[in-house]
């Protein structure tokens, strides 16, 4: 079975400071990793994904994530946080098996950026 852990229910950061939202995963075989964001009263939106290649993946709105195979982690980062980044962030994992792939999400981390 595949699973995702987001150890922090909430992350608080001041605007302009760097932010990190943590994610670790468990999956057999090669992982395919994703970050999604959910703004208040809006649906989930795709931010970025790692399939293969460079361990540092760049995505929407200035976000990036670093894949670390030895630590089975895929932390989301941004060099300078904005108040508008405040939202619920979900990490997800998938793997290619028998021609189909189920997408499994973590419980989510609420990011609060203060002015």
């Amino acid at each position: 079975a595949q699973s995702v852990a987001q150890p922090e229910d909430q992350v608080n950061v001041a605007e302009g400071n760097p932010l990190t939202v943590k994610c670790t995963y468990s999956v057999s075989g090669n992982p395919y990793l994703f970050w999604y964001v959910q703004y208040p009263n809006r649906g989930l939106q795709f931010l970025l994904k790692y399939i293969t290649g460079d361990n540092l993946v760049k995505g929407s709105y200035g976000f990036e994530a670093e894949f670390n195979k030895s630590q089975t982690s895929f932390h989301l980062k941004k060099p300078s946080a904005l108040v508008s980044d405040s939202a619920l962030y979900f990490c997800a994992v998938s793997r290619n098996r028998a021609g189909y792939s189920t997408l499994t999400f973590g419980k989510g981390t609420m990011l609060l950026v203060s002015p």
Binding site: F34, Y36, R42, F46, Y100, T102, L103, F105, K107
Partner: protein, 114 residues
Amino acid sequence: GAGVSQSPSNKVTEKGKDVELRCDPISGHTALYWYRQSLGQGLEFLIYFQGNSAPDKSGLPSDRFSAERTGGSVSTLTIQRTQQEDSAVYLCASSLLTGLDEAFFGQGTRLTVV
């Protein structure tokens, strides 16, 4: 349509009644997912469709839950004899081919069982 459409957006039902939730995925998307989002519980996987077949339905909580997909397009999630613990937001997502592709989510159906 331009995005994933779910209906109804809100549903209030009495305990014991059956409900049907509908999902219209993006045209041409082969993969379709149903998730349930409860406060503090994150996104709970329910079922995955590849075309009209469901190779993974391991997340359905009980035999009161069922889902089908017809014509490789519209999907219906049915909950029979609803219980209060079924109250949640039910989200549908579709992706082009498989779970390796970006998933596009609908706005969800908020189900309240009273």
